[in-house]
């Protein structure tokens, strides 16, 4: 089976096309997924920045109730899994979840280790270290952003002030549900899979079907007919077509006819010789 012309023609090309289309789809999916995840992270950082800017006035005036209301209201938004503000010592001062208030976070956990991994805490946090992904206790995939709250000149001169020596006053930590992103990725995967399958069916399947119809089936008939060494109607059917196989069938038919004519002539010659030999004796 693996030695036939059909197999040797279709298998390498089918394998090459299937493999290459699969490789391109997987690479493209990886690139698009990375772009979508990066966009989601940037969107999350923008939200975190917006929350920090929104709470700035309340912080400057030490209006803790107003600040708590802002945190609670934004935290109720669909898609927000957690929203909390840490102070300089890592104690949760404001949170969507009231039970977290007053707890101190472990500085070595992911999300805090970006700045606190060394002996001296870093004063600036790079964008990629601001984001982290994990699954929370409810089994929800979360994209969390940590936005430092930097000390500004107005923070040292307002009615609620911090000393200028403190560079970072606290941290805003917001976690967003990745469910919609995962659903979009799953939908994209499904669409790419359908497109790939359709492309493969058209290219490999279509080529195989056309080859089968126009070449392999007539070739099988020709092989069957030439195996018998007898003239038959099948040869005439093959001759009536067009293309190289029909030409081959016509050539074969012509060869067969000449062979039969030659045999007939030889048989006649032999019978003539026998009659002559019998007459002379």
């Amino acid at each position: 089976m693996f030695q036939s012309v059909a197999t040797r023609s279709i298998i390498p090309v089918g394998l090459a096309v299937t493999g290459f289309v699969g490789i391109c789809c997987l690479s493209l999916y990886g690139i698009m997924k990375r772009d979508m995840v990066n966009d989601a992270a940037q969107h999350g950082r923008n939200i975190a920045n917006t929350v920090v800017l929104s709470t700035r006035y309340a912080m400057l005036h030490n209006d803790r109730q107003h600040l708590g209301n802002i945190i609670a209201n934004i935290g109720q938004h669909q898609g927000v899994e957690h929203l909390r503000v840490f102070n300089h010592d890592g104690v949760v001062t404001f949170s969507r979840n009231q039970s977290e208030i007053g707890h101190q976070v472990n500085k070595q956990v992911e999300g805090c280790s970006g700045c606190h991994s060394g002996s001296k805490p870093a004063e600036q946090l790079a964008a990629e270290k601001q984001t982290r992904r994990f699954t929370n206790e409810r089994g929800v995939q979360v994209l969390a952003m940590s936005q430092p709250i930097y000390n500004e000149p107005t923070c040292t001169t307002s009615c609620h002030y911090h000393p200028a020596s403190k560079k970072v006053l606290g941290m805003l930590d917001i976690g967003l549900d990745q469910g919609p992103l995962q659903n979009s990725l799953a939908l994209m995967r499904y669409r790419m899979l359908v497109f790939t399958l359709m492309t493969l069916v058209l290219t490999v399947g279509g080529t195989a079907a056309l080859l089968n119809r126009s070449f392999f089936i007539p070739l099988k008939k020709l092989i069957a007919v030439t195996s018998t060494h007898e003239e038959s109607d099948s040869v005439k059917q093959l001759e009536s077509g067009y293309g190289e196989l029909s030409l081959l069938a016509r050539n074969y038919h012509s060869l067969l006819s000449r062979l039969h004519d030659t045999r007939d002539a030889l048989a006649r010659c032999r019978s003539c010789n026998k009659e002559k030999g019998g007459g002379e004796s």
């Binding site: 090459a16 699969g22 690479s27």
Partner: protein, 170 residues
């Protein structure tokens, strides 16, 4: 009549033994592609579990290695490598080239695994590298197998003719 290394013509028995040994060598060689696929699968398992097996790179190592290429560039290079490798192997199949390449592809694919790992994006791109390796090695394996089978058929025909000549009854 074929000659031995010393220049003397080979006897029919020697020719027969030589043909049988050659057929055995071709049969062994015909499985070379499958061994390459198995070796690549073996290499791919630690790549798949890289985040669990290998410790994270220390900052000193990262500094020594320098900035890795972007993952988009590595993916583009992977597609170009796959395209050119597939074209080359299809060319060898079409021309029935005696050149058999299999294990060298494993080296290139390990490099892709390494580049993705050092860029920190191996989990997202593992399947692309695996698909590339399986496609190329499957084509190479098919080429090696079909070439070996055709050589085996030719030599078996020669062996039959030789055995008929020396009147050998198997």
């Amino acid at each position: 009549m074929t000659t031995t290394d010393t220049g003397k013509p080979q006897t029919p028995e020697e020719q027969r033994s030589a043909l049988q040994a050659s057929i055995r060598r071709w049969r062994t060689r015909s499985h070379q592609g499958l061994w390459a696929i198995a070796a690549f699968a073996g290499v791919s398992i630690p790549a798949m579990l890289s985040d669990r097996i290998f410790p994270p790179l220390t900052p000193e190592v990262k500094r020594m290695l320098g900035t890795p290429p972007s993952s988009n560039m590595i993916s583009a290079l992977l597609v170009v490598y796959a395209f050119s490798a597939i074209l080359l192997v299809l060319g060898r199949i079409t021309n029935a080239s005696p050149k058999m390449v299999s294990f060298s592809h494993i080296g290139y694919l390990i490099c892709f695994y390494a580049f993705y790992y050092f860029s920190g994006v191996l989990p997202e791109n593992f399947w692309a590298v695996l698909a590339t390796g399986m496609t190329i090695l499957s084509l190479e394996s098919y080429h090696i197998w079909s070439l070996s089978m055709s050589r085996i058929r030719e030599e078996e025909e020669e062996l039959k003719i030789l055995e008929r000549r020396i009147g050998f009854r198997g």
